[in-house]
């Protein structure tokens, strides 16, 4: 698995072979506050880079997570249906949202240091 990379829209992704795992950053979960509901895509659903992939409902506001590159969903984290708060407690680990097969590799995300500079 490659090192996590981050997008300006606060998603992270990591690459294993030809599959990416996608979630939202610790900064994003902190800004959203308590997450109470997540609408995940379906396995097999195709996304182009920048498409809205996941809807994250928090007590403060609602936000979307966008596809970091063209991809097809191969697995979703179903435990988020009953325990969306995992995203708050472990956004970059157990709180992953989607695994997807890469259709068009675009590994242009920021490394953590660069992302940290971006958010501060």
């Amino acid at each position: 698995m490659t090192e996590k990379k981050y997008l300006e829209t606060h998603e992270w992704y990591s690459l294993t072979d030809n599959t990416i795992t996608i979630g939202i950053s610790d900064y994003a979960q902190g800004e959203l506050g308590d997450i109470v509901f997540v609408t995940l895509p379906e396995v097999g659903q195709e996304f182009s880079k920048g498409d809205s992939m996941v809807e994250v409902e928090a007590t403060k506001t609602v936000a979307e997570a966008y596809a970091p590159m063209d991809c097809v969903v191969v697995e979703i984290n179903s435990s988020l249906d009953s325990e969306p708060e995992i995203i708050n407690s472990d956004p970059c680990g157990e709180g992953w949202m989607v695994k997807a097969e890469v259709k068009n590799l675009d590994d242009s995300g920021m490394l953590y240091q660069e992302y940290e500079n971006f958010i501060s």
């Binding site: 308590d34 509901f37 403060k60």
Partner: protein
């Protein structure tokens, strides 16, 4: 550029690592450990809220006759030592602000919403009602929760429900905005540290405006700017119980007419059996009666989405359809309270 105001507790909020929100020109704490944690803590234990952004105006009792012509509740019969929730109305009977009065022998303390303080001050000036503005000389702290009163007993004599007291340091009432028991305490800035030390020593946790909003919503309490606006009357907001002013007051003829005919907008509580939040502005249909969500959020106690919806007229079904970002989600009108 508008000046952003800070509460006298701001340095304490920084120390407590609050996340802040701009609210009606004030920088106030939104949360500390998380809205849901703070919400649960207030429901099970007790917490304190900094509500120093709310306007605090002292009005001599000589002016109550005049004030009484501007609000929908009976202020003249209010006894010293009692609190009163009421609404300032305009010529259309619509709400200019919802406020609390704490009555003492010589004066009333009028507590108004931060967003409306200037409006109320101007209104009082126009009506030649003299007031003393204590908003920036004092702090206001609400201590709320089932354990609040037993904790505060060692600090203060406890007044009865909806009653107020004062001593040389504190002006306070057994009122609140969470559905829980507790006190709202006004204190001069120089005496604030003592109050805060007491709260911390008694493990009364700081809570932010995020939890205050989810708590008030669960308790079905209106929020000005949402359930009450300059376009909504107390009757329409389901607050007929506040209409105790038997005399003529601003817009009272319109309010009386609304009660007589029943022709007016109607505010209802709703529940959605899922976690989809129907937020402010969400369109709702009750058969063919259209409504708009005024406030909506997730109820940490019910683990469901709840809120208020304002209908154009009385709906004749309890079944609702919410349009949430292009999807249609079912819900229903709730006639009883959110929390039993």
């Amino acid at each position: 550029m508008p000046i952003i105001k800070y509460s006298p507790l701001h340095s304490l909020h920084l120390k407590n690592k609050a996340k802040f929100i701009e609210f009606s020109g004030w920088t106030m704490p939104f949360s500390y450990k998380g809205t849901i944690k703070e919400h649960q803590f207030v429901r099970q234990n007790n917490g304190y809220f900094d509500v120093s952004h709310m306007g605090r105006l002292v009005i001599g009792n000589d002016y109550l006759q005049k004030v009484s012509t501007l609000i929908c509740s009976d202020l003249l019969e209010l006894k010293s030592g009692k609190a009163l929730y009421s609404i300032f109305t305009d010529d259309n009977g619509s709400a200019l602000d919802d406020v609390i009065f704490w009555k003492y022998d010589e004066y009333v303390l009028l507590i108004c919403n931060a967003a409306n303080t200037e409006k109320i001050r101007n209104y009082l000036q126009t009506e030649e009602i003299f007031y003393q503005d204590l908003t920036e000389k004092t702090a206001l702290v609400a201590v709320q929760g089932p354990k609040a009163i037993s904790n505060l007993e060692t600090l203060l004599p406890i007044p009865g429900s909806f009653s107020c007291l004062s001593n040389d340091k504190y002006t306070y009432a057994r009122t609140g905005y969470t559905g829980e028991d507790g006190l709202e305490i006004m204190v001069d800035i120089e005496d604030l540290d003592e109050l805060i030390s007491f709260l911390h020593n008694n493990e009364i946790e700081p809570c932010g405006l995020g939890a205050r909003d989810t708590l008030r919503l669960e308790a079905a309490l209106p929020l000005y700017g949402f359930e009450l606006t300059e376009d909504i009357t107390p009757v329409e907001a389901g607050l007929k119980w506040t209409l105790t002013n038997k005399r003529v007051y601003r817009g009272s003829h319109i309010i009386d007419q609304q009660i007589k005919t029943g022709n007016h907008k109607v505010l209802k509580k709703f529940v959605i059996d899922s976690r989809n939040i129907a937020r402010t502005g969400t369109n709702v249909l009750a058969c063919n009666i259209h409504g708009v969500v005024t406030s909506g959020n997730f109820s940490p106690i019910l683990q469901k989405s709840i809120g208020f919806v304002l209908f154009e007229s009385q709906p004749d079904t309890d079944l609702l359809e919410f349009e949430i970002r292009g999807k249609f989600i079912e819900g229903k009108i709730l006639k009883k309270r959110f929390l039993s």
